[in-house]
């Protein structure tokens, strides 16, 4: 037997997806060994965040006759029709990482973090580290990305309860630009207590900024996702913490769900992959796992 | 005397056009050799083959005894051939000196360009050809066509060469400038440089050359010592039999109605100032002047390209302000540019499209369509009427010879039916036969009620055609002469007046 699965993400080229895809491929291999079926997993997606092109890719994938689809659904409406189209043709679809927030998408299940809840975790971590007053910055790499907007909303829910004031920065997907933006903010606000991000690029940039301006220990740095630069910065003490959403699981579980559904008709269920905080206390464990591609 | 260049059965074909067919002749070392022929006869093509721009299809060229087959212009230059091309290829963004030394800048140690030296040498070369008013540091894009032409000549002179090829170098020059140029050419000849000289002005060819080669329809007709020829002989060889004659026909009397009246016209940027004249119905008003006198600028001002900043223009007695070419055209004014390369032609378009550019709105039909059939009819009419040599109306304009391109431009303005037509150097680059044709055309325009303002550096032509002549000098009118008063001497005296 042979199953052909695709992972379709809203942007294919950022490093965030690497552990997610590895999780999916590991699951495929595990199942192959255990069940004697051959499962292939491919990763597709537009180059940059682009809903429309992602829809096209999903249509093309359906057309090409894949057996199952794992997809991020970064839009409340746009994916309703193509997912329905897939289901009509007997292709199961599981959402991962980013769900259709309107709740009307016919996908079988969602595996991932709830962005608002996870944003709240970041907010709570900020309060824990800087106290309940003072000025901080929160960077977004893309001002129009629904997940980032939801995370920001979560952060706001927490910070608005305190006396912390915050400036929202557009740090862009470019590391150099992100560094420049945080630098400028810190220069303009010498009393700033922290810089934070809701995405991986901005978080990586923070370490460089803190190091260059020599603000280690004076300005808190924290953000999102496990990428090598960020983990390094946590180890070196430039960055204090990062929110992890377990992308490995976001790839692993959906494959299992699709397989069980196709083989045995067991419907997949929603799984929250949580929002765990990685900081100096556990970074070393995470680092070794990250090197193996699990985190 | 030995042959420095020998052509043996050289042929070149462009698509459906046989530009050159089995052309053979030799250039004697130390001669000035004339090359003449009708528009489209293949002169420029031949020169481009020698200059490494085109590759010949067949035949052989021997230069200084060795096979000459340059793959690039640079290679031709290295072998000792300098070319002044017909189409004035200069970089408009660079200065005169930079253009002169374009391909072979003088370098200081460390690869640094030595601008001061190049400017000095440029000024020197210009003074050699009697031009001291052109600053080597001026940007070429701002020069008049004549000044650009001189720059090209200086560019060719700046290189040490055995063979100097000049493709219509005098087309934009005034008689005085031509004389100085000829002095330089004679001096070069005395020093042993061989010169190949192309011109449509046969008097020049008779004056300067030692031998003449005539081409017709891409074929070699004859190569003869100039001394053994008369102008009439050359014309006969060029056109086959005596097809056209000069007919200084008595022309219709201009009426006394004033169609255009200009009072104290001025334009600040060009320095045009205090220009006043009247133009009568059915009159040919000649404008004479040396290069830089401001004749073109007067034309551009009347046509609304550079709107007047002072003075008054009255059309049929009504004061008008002409602020754009569109408006001028709507008022019945047409302007044939002297700069067909930059201001005239649409290089990506074909003959027909170039012809209808001015009347495109008049060809409009329902839903904004334009009438193809009417356009084709106009095109066919023009090609026949002006004897335009083209493979067809759909031939790209860039593939026509220079003279034929000029005819297309002229036809464009004729199709617009203007009541006042300003012609700036209308016969520049046009062969003798066609020149007569165009002169006749101007006559017939006048018969039909058109008034013509004629700007021409060909003084004989100007005097032959004009009912009256106004002479310009330093952007002002220095005198007005009636038909009978206008003689070469008086015009030149006024043109060079302070």
């Amino acid at each position: 037997d042979q199953y052909d699965f695709v992972v379709i993400t809203h942007s294919a080229t950022i490093s965030f997806w690497v552990p997610l895809v590895k999780g999916a491929q590991d699951a495929a291999r595990a199942i192959s060994l255990a069940e004697g079926v051959n499962i292939t997993v491919r990763h597709l997606g537009p180059h940059l965040f682009n809903v429309e092109e992602q829809v096209s890719i999903m249509e093309n994938a359906i057309q090409s006759g894949v057996d199952g689809i794992i997809a991020t659904l970064p839009d409340p409406n746009a994916f309703d029709a193509p997912v329905q189209q897939a289901l009509d043709r007997g292709i199961p679809v599981v959402a991962t990482n980013t769900d259709d927030t309107s709740g009307d998408n016919p996908r079988l299940a969602y595996v991932g973090q709830n962005d608002i809840t996870a944003g709240r975790s970041l907010g709570e971590e900020i309060v824990k580290r800087v106290g309940t007053s003072g000025k901080v910055a929160i960077g977004l790499e893309d001002l129009g990305h629904p997940s980032l907007q939801d995370r920001l909303a979560g952060v706001r829910q927490v910070l608005d309860q305190t006396d912390i004031t915050y400036e929202v920065l557009h740090t862009t997907a470019d590391l150099t630009q992100a560094v420049a933006t945080f630098e400028s903010f810190l220069l303009a606000n010498p009393d700033a207590k922290g810089i934070f991000s809701v995405d991986a690029t901005g978080t990586t940039a923070q370490g460089t900024v803190i190091r260059n301006l020599g603000l280690q220990g004076r300005v808190v740095s924290g953000g999102w996702d496990l990428v090598p630069g960020t983990l390094q910065n946590i180890q070196d003490g430039y960055t204090q913490f990062t929110v992890d959403q377990n992308p490995y699981l976001q790839g692993y579980y959906p494959v299992v769900g699709l397989y069980l559904y196709l083989r045995y008709g067991i419907a997949p269920s929603n799984i929250d992959t949580g929002a765990s905080i990685v900081d100096a206390s556990n970074v070393n464990d995470v680092l070794s796992l990250a090197e193996q591609g699990y985190r | 005397m030995s042959a420095i260049l020998e052509l043996r059965k050289v042929s070149k074909r462009f698509g459906g056009v046989q530009a050159l067919q089995d052309v053979s002749f030799t250039l004697e070392e130390g001669h000035i050799h004339g090359l003449v022929g009708e528009n489209g006869a293949g002169k420029s093509t031949l020169i481009k083959i020698l200059g490494g721009v085109y590759a010949k299809d067949a035949g052989e060229v021997l230069f200084q005894g060795a096979t000459h087959q340059p793959a690039t212009p640079a290679e031709a230059q290295r072998s000792g051939i300098s070319v002044v091309h017909q189409e004035i290829p200069l970089c408009p963004n660079l200065t005169v000196a930079q253009n002169v030394f374009l391909g072979h800048p003088i370098l200081k140690r460390g690869g640094r360009a030595d601008w001061a030296e190049m400017e000095r040498r440029t000024a020197e070369l210009f003074s050699l050809i009697g031009q001291t008013s052109i600053d080597p540091r001026r940007v070429v894009g701002r020069l008049s066509v004549a000044e650009q032409q001189l720059t090209c000549i200086v560019q060719a002179l700046s290189q040490q060469c055995r063979l100097l090829i000049l493709d219509e170098p005098t087309a934009a020059l005034t008689p005085g400038e031509v004389e100085t140029l000829f002095d330089v050419l004679r001096k070069l000849r005395a020093e042993g440089t061989t010169i190949l000289f192309v011109s449509h002005i046969l008097s020049e060819v008779m004056e300067i050359t030692d031998r003449v080669t005539v081409l017709r329809n891409g074929r070699h007709v004859a190569t003869t010592p100039t001394a053994q020829l008369t102008t009439a002989d050359v014309v006969r060889m060029m056109v086959g039999e005596m097809g056209v004659g000069h007919q200084p026909s008595a022309h219709a009397r201009p009426s006394s109605d004033v169609v255009l009246e200009v009072r104290d016209l001025g334009e600040a940027r060009s320095g045009l100032h205090g220009v006043s004249f009247e133009l009568h119905r059915q009159e040919v008003l000649g404008i004479a002047g040396i290069q830089g006198a401001g004749r073109t600028e007067l034309g551009l001002c009347l046509f609304g390209v550079t709107p007047a900043t002072e003075g008054e223009i009255r059309l049929q007695g009504q004061p008008v302000r002409v602020t754009s070419p569109r408006q001028a055209i709507d008022l019945g004014i047409g302007y044939l540019t002297e700069d067909r390369r930059n201001l005239g032609l649409f290089w990506e378009m074909n003959v027909e499209q170039n012809l209808v550019a001015v009347i495109i709105d008049r060809l409009r039909r329902a839903f904004g369509r334009w009438d193809r059939r009417a356009a084709r009819e106009r095109g066919e009419e023009a090609v026949k009427g002006l004897d335009i040599r083209t493979a067809g109306l759909h031939q790209g304009i860039r593939f026509l010879s220079g003279g034929n391109q000029q005819k297309v431009l002229l036809a464009r303005w004729l199709s617009a039916d203007p009541s006042i037509l300003i012609l700036d150097e209308p016969t520049r680059g046009i062969d003798v036969g066609s020149k007569a044709e165009i002169r006749r055309l101007i006559r017939s325009l006048v018969e039909r009620g058109v008034s013509v303002i004629l700007i021409s550096s060909d003084l004989d032509e100007l005097l032959a055609l004009s009912d009256r002549v106004i002479v310009m000098s330093r952007r002002r009118v220095s005198g007005t002469l009636s038909g009978s008063e206008a003689t070469r001497e008086r015009v030149m005296a006024l043109a060079t007046a302070k």
């Binding site: 682009n50 096209s56 309703d80 309107s102 | 070419p325 290089w347 550019a357 369509r369």
Partner: protein, 319 residues
């Protein structure tokens, strides 16, 4: 070269090369995949390219008049967000769409007037406006996507599959191509666009209002972006403020693959139409072939270059 944009002669010219590239691509994917050459898939491709394609058509006209517009993606976002917001605010979808198109035309007018009157290159004007309009889309939407539930009739003629098969966006693309063909190759305006792009000074001396021709080109392009935004809103049921990033390069690439020259004066609607489709076919075919995301980008780039090379060499046109 005989390329002139409106004579049968053009069929012998660069468009023929583009067609050859297109045919080769179709052949390749037909042989290598079993699904490519199905009517369902081909209609899908047409639907997928329709949004960028509509913009490509207008961009071709603008490029021929020697300008281009980098802000189309941002205008596309603004119009999508505005139409959705107006509709959700209670306006009828017809009125909202009309308002969106009018807004698009206004943005095009701004681009055009700044370029022509300001005398600064369209590259800079539209790069600047790309950021400005993007900012506008973000401000209006607050960064969040706007979803709509459109009335059935509007949806059926703009977003759905008509008669159960033909995607309405694809139909719009074809209709717009016909309209653009008429405009560029049949009307006096089209002639003027070629003239202005070919030699602006000569066009001015021939009495053509060169500024107006260019401004109209900008307005057409912006309006095409607005129409594309409305169609995509209908099809997807939502608009995001970041949509359309990189669209400008796709649209310009389509026009250039189709033979338009960024130096102006050269190009055709048939070419632009095929250029847009070539881009779409490659994207589609690569997914059908199962090529991974990283390799796709690489291959797409190569195909773009090869397509232009084929178009170029098959017609032995050299300058």
């Amino acid at each position: 070269m005989g390329r002139s944009g409106n004579l049968p002669a053009w069929l012998r010219s660069r468009e023929a090369g583009v067609l050859l590239a297109l045919v080769l691509l179709v052949l390749f994917f037909s042989v290598t995949t079993s699904t490519f050459l199905t009517s369902l898939n081909l209609l899908n491709v047409l639907r997928q390219v329709s949004v960028v394609g509509i913009i490509t058509l207008a961009m071709t006209i603008l490029i021929i008049s020697q300008e281009f517009d980098l802000s189309v993606g941002s205008m596309y976002a603004v119009v999508g967000i505005v139409v959705a917001t107006l509709f959700n605010g209670g306006m009828s979808i017809w009125m909202a769409s009309l308002a969106g198109l009018a807004l698009a035309a206004a943005m095009g007018l701004v681009n055009g007037v700044l370029t022509v009157r300001g005398g600064i290159p369209s590259f800079i004007v539209t790069l600047g406006m790309m950021m400005v309009y993007r900012g506008v889309a973000l401000l209006i939407s607050g960064g969040s996507p706007a979803s709509v539930r459109l009335p059935a009739f509007f949806y059926s003629i703009t977003g759905s599959r008509l008669w159960g098969a033909i995607p309405a966006p694809a139909l719009w693309f074809v209709i717009m191509a016909v309209a653009a063909y008429f405009l560029l190759h049949v009307t006096g305006f089209g002639f003027k666009a070629f003239a202005v792009g070919g030699n602006r000074e000569a066009a001015r001396l021939a009495g053509i209002n060169t500024g107006r021709v260019k401004v109209i080109g900008f307005i057409l392009t912006a309006t095409a972006a607005g129409l594309a935004a409305t169609i995509s809103l209908s099809y997807l049921g939502s608009a995001t403020p970041t949509q359309g990033q990189g669209m400008e390069l796709q649209a310009i690439a389509g026009a250039v693959i189709g033979g338009a020259s960024l130096m102006g004066g050269v190009g055709s609607i048939v070419g632009g139409f095929m250029g847009a489709i070539i881009m779409g076919i490659v994207r589609n075919g690569l997914v059908l072939l199962g090529v991974s995301a990283y390799l796709q980008e690489l291959i797409l780039g190569l195909v773009v270059i090869v397509a232009v090379l084929i178009g170029h060499y098959s017609t032995q046109q050299r300058r």
